[in-house]
């Protein structure tokens, strides 16, 4: 009978923990603040609450005597939160870089089924049809604002690693590119003049790859190019080197074909008109998407993988940390067993004892979470790195430790603290007073 009771109790606890975790994950920050306020009011206004506050104070006052084991909880949880937040910051940073590269005011046209610019090819006739299509905005002279572009890949060494080879994208762009991509600004030097073998480099590319500072020359496809400027755009374009389409086409023997055509739309609504007309045109077999869709799609695969890896690693580490916290808190209440029993003997009930042990663990967890998330924020926020993107070339991106991510980290920390504190707290409240007083 006793075993059955024990089993039932364990099962009940498990259900409570599962329900709590589900609720906790869904809870927005307002909910957590409300919970905190309710707890504070309860502690201030009710008798039980005031008792809880007293017991908690004693517990916290003695934390310094258990510094070694308490720091295990803090450091363990800091580790979990740090790794989780860093991995998520990497995936968020990558997704955000690509997402902000596109917008709904411009559309990109590729050969049907090519998925990325590198695989696409459009001959001059097709490119012209695309530029003349309805929905494309015209400038004052009635010329469509469009850029027929080529993306090729060059080998450049990574900064500080002269023997490495990275695929760096080089984009041939038309004059209209400045109207199409108004986020791009020259921050150093000047822009290229067509036909003179001049090239400008993105700020991100300049930071990651060797030998592309202003004034330097580089050899591409057997020709010499001079770097004349640096541009900034705060998106994936910063990973690229830009020159004019004709020069790139002649260097790489592409004739008059381009790989993609980017057009400025009359309005975001004009996209449907453009798409309908291009899809219906029997001379063409193209894919049309807004640049926003196109670039967001490119980040999908890697973002998913990074998130999945981050969360898997986080969960496994969290399991380790929960057991570490359980161990520590069991030891802590054992060290205080007599004290807790004395409190109970003089009239303190179970609830204050349970709540106070939980509070103590969760405070340690909160501290750990803050440390872990804080360290990641300090070290990694804005940290720039690169990986192989859809065009078979490097995309430079920054880790982005957002407020939302820090919040996710803190929530994980508190959840670990909750589970790690619950069972020791229950033990503290359930051990018969007489047994506890006799212990040690």
């Amino acid at each position: 009978m006793n075993a059955l009771k024990k089993f039932g109790f364990g099962l009940l606890m498990l259900l409570i923990v599962a329900a709590f975790l589900a609720l906790w994950i869904a809870l927005p920050w307002q909910g957590v603040v409300a919970l905190g306020v309710v707890l504070a009011l309860w502690m201030a206004l009710t008798r039980r609450g005031r008792q809880t506050w007293q017991v908690t104070r004693v517990g916290l006052a003695t934390v310094t005597q258990r510094l070694g084991s308490s720091s295990v909880v803090v450091v363990g949880i800091a580790g979990v939160v740090g790794v989780l937040v860093a991995m998520l910051a990497m995936s968020d940073g990558f997704a955000e870089t690509l997402r902000s590269t596109g917008n709904d005011r411009t559309a990109i046209v590729l050969r049907g089924g090519s998925q990325a610019e590198l695989n696409s090819i459009l001959d001059r006739d097709s490119a012209n049809i695309v530029m003349q299509a309805p929905g494309v905005k015209k400038d004052a002279q009635g010329k469509p604002i469009a850029s027929g572009e080529l993306v090729v890949v060059a080998n450049l060494p990574r900064r500080g690693d002269p023997n490495s080879d990275s695929n760096v994208p080089i984009r041939g762009v038309s004059d209209d590119v400045w109207k199409l991509r108004d986020q791009v600004k020259i921050v150093e030097g000047r822009t290229f003049r067509p036909g003179l073998g001049e090239i400008i480099v993105g700020k991100g590319a300049k930071a990651q790859f060797e030998g592309i500072d202003v004034g330097k020359t580089l050899r591409l496809a057997g020709q010499t190019w001079t770097v004349v400027g640096v541009f900034e755009s705060h998106d994936a374009l910063e990973s690229e080197l830009w020159a004019d389409t004709q020069s790139v086409a002649s260097a790489y023997r592409r004739g008059s074909s381009v790989q993609s055509v980017t057009v400025l739309l009359d309005s975001p609504k004009a996209f449907d008109t453009l798409k309908a007309s291009l899809v219906a045109d029997p001379r063409l077999k193209v894919d049309v998407s807004t640049t926003q869709d196109y670039f967001s799609k490119q980040s999908e695969g890697l973002t998913k993988v990074l998130r999945a890896v981050g969360i898997t690693v986080g969960v496994i580490m969290a399991i380790g940390a929960i057991f570490g916290a359980l161990n520590t808190m069991f030891a802590a209440i054992q060290a205080r067993a007599r004290e807790i029993a004395t409190l109970r003997a003089i009239g303190f009930r179970g609830v204050p004892v349970v709540v106070s042990v939980m509070l103590e663990t969760m405070m340690l967890a909160l501290l750990g979470g803050l440390i872990g998330a804080g360290v990641v924020w300090l070290v990694f926020n804005g940290y720039s790195t690169s990986t192989l993107g859809a065009n078979f070339s490097q995309v430079v991106f920054r880790f982005h430790v957002s407020g939302a991510l820090l919040w996710t980290g803190i929530k994980w920390a508190l959840a670990i603290g909750f589970i790690g504190g619950l069972f020791p707290a229950l033990r503290a409240a359930r051990v018969p007073v007489t047994t506890a007083l006799r212990e040690l």
């Binding site: 070694g68 084991s69 720091s71 295990v72 450091v75 363990g76 580790g79 740090g82 790794v83 049907g112 089924g113 090519s114 998925q115 990325a116 590198l118 695989n119 090729v152 890949v153 060059a154 080998n155 490495s164 080879d165 990275s166 695929n167 050899r219 591409l220 496809a221 057997g222 790489y252 695969g301 993988v305 890896v309 898997t312 690693v313 496994i316 580490m317 399991i319 380790g320 940390a321 057991f323 570490g324 359980l326 161990n327 520590t328 069991f330 030891a331 790195t385 690169s386 990986t387 192989l388 078979f392 490097q394």
Partner: protein, 388 residues
């Protein structure tokens, strides 16, 4: 070893505490196993099979092709046994998500990559079938392909001459990679370069190749041959870069990001926490046993043997949890690899992971045991028994 039962008893003195610690250790080594598999998946650099092969690509960029006329000139270089070539096909099967690592290859490619083992009759069938393709066993399993199947593969780059982007293929052979082949070898798809040239909408494809693979007469000629090959096209508009297969693979993996660094950073965080946690448990365990240790010393155990026993306790704790964790990783890793649909191509936990893991267990075990062990060794019997 004769004190094994004593160490064991000490370890399980408080079952719940030891159990909780073991789970933490298990989690850490489960992660270690999984991350090491991930690292290994991106690290094909230590395979000995490809040491006598060079890869020649365009110096300027990976997307530029090389003239087909180079082949005969390369073959004339002393130290070169044979020269094959390949072209990237960019195939997808039915859905853009089903990316297939597919290549159009020269006829001697299978001889150069001899680690792809193909039954003789399938090899024969491949040679006589124009649209024949051979695929790795893992790839065949992934899509349920069998020898004799006709499958369409869509190229994201090359349309056929008739404008169709879908190319029909006949699966005529399924190869199995030999032991020690680079990770991912079993996921590839090969077909005739001839078919690729003839049916390709780009007529110029017949005069170019994507890259060359060079088989050497012996591995120690790699440097001189690589220099000689690059000299052939120096100062032309198609300069080449020749490197060993390992160097090529390593630089490619590096482009994805420094996987090794990320993995070590995570492992560093995990093991640092583990040491702290287990060290704390050990310290507690020894503190509680002060009396018992004093008694042991009283009845004649030397300080050294007490030191050894506590150290052994730490190592045993780590080895128990670690072996369980690595074994669990051995079960989990194939499941994860399967679940990712071929995207994450994780090799099973190998001997090198086990060896490294065991070393870590012993070192961390000794580390966490060290402080309590020294305390136990220095224990003064009189003080300890008096409870001071």
């Amino acid at each position: 070893m004769k004190y094994m039962h004593l160490i064991w008893a000490a370890l399980f003195r408080r079952k719940s505490r030891t159990f909780l610690t073991l789970v933490s250790i298990l989690a850490a080594f489960l992660l270690f196993g999984m991350l090491d598999a991930t690292r290994a998946a991106f690290d094909s650099g230590d395979s000995v099979i490809g040491v006598d092969r060079l890869i020649t690509t365009s110096r300027y960029s990976i997307i530029q092709s090389l003239p087909a006329s180079l082949q005969t000139r390369m073959e004339a270089i002393p130290g070169v046994k044979s020269v094959g070539y390949a072209n990237w096909f960019g195939g997808i099967y039915q859905d853009p998500k089903n990316f297939v690592l597919s290549f159009a290859v020269s006829d001697n490619y299978l001889d150069i990559y001899h680690e792809m083992e193909l039954p003789a009759e399938q090899r024969k069938a491949y040679e006589t079938t124009r649209t024949g393709a051979i695929v790795g066993d893992a790839l065949a399993k992934r899509f349920g392909w069998k020898v004799g199947d006709k499958i369409p593969l869509q190229s994201t780059i090359f349309p056929q001459r008739n404008g169709d982007k879908t190319w029909p293929f006949d699966i005529v052979g399924i190869y199995t990679p030999a032991k020690g082949a680079a990770n991912g070898t079993d996921q590839q798809f090969f077909f005739h370069h001839k078919y690729f040239e003839d049916a390709n909408a780009f007529h110029s494809i017949g005069t170019t190749v994507g890259w060359y693979v060079v088989k050497l007469t012996s591995a120690d000629k790699a440097d001189s041959v690589a220099k000689a090959i690059d000299a052939l096209s120096a100062n032309s508009d198609h300069e080449t870069k020749t490197q060993t297969e390992q160097a090529f693979n390593a630089s490619f993996a590096k482009q994805l990001g420094d996987i090794g660094l990320i993995v070590s950073a995570i492992m560093g965080a995990v093991f640092f926490t583990l040491i702290l946690l287990t060290g704390n448990t050990m310290a507690q365990a020894v503190r509680e046993r002060t009396n018992e240790l004093a008694v042991l010393k009283t009845i004649g155990f030397s300080s050294q043997s007490v030191l050894g026993m506590v150290l052994a306790e730490g190592v045993l704790l780590l080895v128990l949890g670690g072996v369980l964790g690595l074994a669990l990783a051995g079960v989990v890793v194939p499941i994860v690899a399967k679940g990712s649909g071929g995207m994450l191509n994780l090799p099973p936990i190998g001997a090198s992971t086990w060896i490294l893991g065991l070393m870590l267990m012993v070192v961390i075990g000794a580390l966490v045991g060290a402080l309590p062990a020294i305390r136990a060794m220095r224990l003064n019997i009189v003080d300890a028994l008096a409870g001071r």
